[in-house]
């Protein structure tokens, strides 16, 4: 799991957190091992109550773990929380700006809390206001902001001190599609700047579009981890559906079934359905094979499993049902 020689910005071993509710002890995070590499966008995916926010809050020094160890941004989470705090930014679900204060004031105050001088904080605030397109509202109270403006300000607050690692807790929940796209764009920009981003989401398309790697957490445990591609492949593989001319359907099926890259093959409704590991590699091979055997390919289609399929397979339920 830990890449050789690569530097990990987050590394946890057996991280756990229990809560006492009355006499019962609830295990919210039940031993999580994570390795987040420098510069990647890491997605933490899971239904509500799965433990993703609790994990995030522990990594951001907001909540002490009950067990396990963690290094965040090169410092020990348990013994050096202050040094961790200097190196990370955190954008919580609620955001964190006061409705009664202007966005610019909040940014400057945030910078000052990290030890910046008044002038440096003002300069950095102006820079972020421009980059996040907050000029029209920067000097208005946050209570007057649109959802998208508010979210961009929240991200700005997390970036004031130029952290090497940014935590985003469900950054696009409740946003309209346009604002959502704008947040994605911003996250990608952070990626280009070399900032490591650790985000939680319950949107599969978000994880798919944005993240270099993903971990799926359920009942406090990581049930799957990898790139979106790896995860999808591990579940079902890709499905190639094709049809051939003439009466050669059975012959094509027999031919393709024998190929090492085909996991399973079946014929139905005049179509041949193949389960393969990597559709994009299999398709040219299929093309060549059929050609060499004088079979005429009429149609060919590639279906790739979605992360939804991965989630269903790993947790036994659909994310959309549980996310609500």
């Amino acid at each position: 799991m830990i890449p050789a020689g690569g530097s990990n910005v987050i590394e946890t071993t057996g991280l756990r957190r229990t809560f006492k509710s009355g006499k019962r002890t609830v295990e919210a995070v039940a031993g999580v091992d994570l390795a987040v590499r420098e510069g990647e966008i890491f997605g933490f995916l899971g239904p509500n109550g799965a433990g993703k926010t609790t994990t995030l809050r522990m990594l951001a020094t907001l909540m002490p773990p009950t067990g396990g160890t963690a290094r965040v941004a090169g410092c020990d989470l348990l013994t050096q929380p202050d040094r961790v705090r200097e190196r990370i930014g955190y954008v919580g679900q609620a955001g964190g700006a006061d409705r009664e204060i202007t966005g610019r004031r909040e940014l400057v105050f945030q910078g000052r809390l990290y030890g910046m001088s008044s002038a440096a904080a003002s300069g950095r605030a102006a820079e972020l206001i421009e980059r996040l397109e907050l000029e029209p509202c920067a000097d208005r109270k946050v209570g007057t902001y649109s959802g998208g403006q508010k979210r961009r300000l929240d991200i700005g607050l997390g970036l004031m001190h130029q952290p090497q690692l940014l935590f985003l807790d469900e950054p696009t929940t409740g946003l309209d599609p346009q604002s959502r796209a704008r947040v994605w764009q911003e996250v990608q920009r952070l990626h280009e700047l070399g900032i490591t981003v650790f985000l939680t989401t319950h949107y599969l398309d978000e994880a798919d579009a944005l993240c270099d790697r993903i971990a799926i957490i359920d009942y406090g445990k990581i049930v799957a981890e990898g790139t979106p591609e790896e995860l999808k492949r591990a579940v079902a593989g890709d499905v190639v559906t094709l049809s051939v001319g003439g009466d050669r359907q059975q012959a094509a099926l027999d031919l393709l079934k024998a190929q090492p890259f085909v996991r399973e093959a079946a014929a139905e409704d005049g179509m041949v359905r193949l389960y393969v590991d990597r559709g994009e590699v299999a398709m040219p091979a299929i093309l060549r094979l059929l050609d060499a055997n004088a079979m005429q390919l009429r149609t060919m289609e590639l279906h790739r499993p979605s992360l939804d399929d991965v989630f269903l397979r790993q947790t036994g339920r659909s994310l959309r049902e549980t996310a609500a």
């Binding site: 809050r57 705090r85 990370i88 955190y90 609620a94 955001g95 006061d98 990290y114 030890g115």
Partner: protein
């Protein structure tokens, strides 16, 4: 050094919010002022009753009002904290390296300033009614009120961080402050009280503050009760600050 800088920063934020909405100073002054106009005159007629401290009705009553202001003025500060918890402000501040003591002290200092302004207004308004006091006395009394305010605010913030909801905060704060105020002799000197009530007052730290404030207004600054009241409040205040700062470092949203 960092603690001072952080406290100053946090204070600046909340003081800025406060001066943009100074109506709270007026609201805070109105209640004690009503007591002074509508209740204190009743005391004039009993001021001559044996057992009533010498020095005039207002010099007995105003110190009690000031102590009450110190406590009531700070008891409600948790409401704004709860709304900040909801906006994620506290969580955001806790992720920064800012000192947790500063998170408490900076806000509580703002509350204390507001209480001191109200106290000064109250003292000035009471002068025409017949209150008499010397400048040193004013300083001592304001210091005492500041300690009570800081103590109450620290407790109020710790309670707010613990309860996290206005619905449970309001009843708890208001049902616990009233008996504390009543058994401290704020309204009437406990000289009139039956023995059992006097015994309760002995256990109530705030009654020592009330005694101290009265001694100051009766121009008895050298009375050991003054030092006793100030020391008791200072010690409790320190304990409350430790408790409040711990609440800030542990707060779980």
């Amino acid at each position: 050094m960092k603690l001072l800088r952080d406290t100053w920063l946090v204070f600046g934020r909340y003081f800025g919010l406060f001066i943009r909405n100074p109506v709270w100073v007026a609201v805070g002054v109105v209640q004690p002022l009503l007591y002074m106009i509508l209740f204190a005159p009743l005391l004039k007629s009993i001021a001559s009753v044996p057992g009533f401290p010498r020095g005039g009705a207002y010099n007995v009553f105003v110190p009690g009002l000031l102590v009450q202001l110190g406590m009531f003025g700070a008891a409600g500060v948790g409401f704004s904290l709860i709304s900040e918890l909801r906006m994620g402000v506290i969580e955001r501040l806790r992720v920064t390296p800012v000192s947790r003591i500063a998170l408490l002290l900076g806000r509580a200092m703002r509350d204390v300033i507001s209480i001191l302004v109200q106290s000064l207004i109250l003292i000035l308004l009471a002068l025409p009614f017949g209150l008499s006091i010397n400048p040193v006395g004013v300083v001592v009394v304001l210091a005492l009120v500041a300690l009570i305010g800081l103590l109450t605010a620290s407790v109020a913030y710790a309670v707010a961080l613990w309860l996290r909801s206005e619905d449970s905060y309001a009843p708890l704060i208001f049902t616990s402050t009233l008996p504390i105020l009543l058994t401290s002799g704020v309204l009437l000197p406990l000289g009139f009280a039956p023995e059992w009530l006097k015994n309760i007052a002995l256990l109530n730290p705030l009654s020592y503050a009330v005694n101290a404030a009265r001694d100051v207004f009766l121009a008895d600054l050298g009375n050991p009760d003054v030092a006793k009241g100030v020391v008791i409040m200072a010690v409790l205040c320190l304990a409350a600050i430790v408790w409040g700062a711990r609440a800030f470092s542990k707060a779980v949203a």
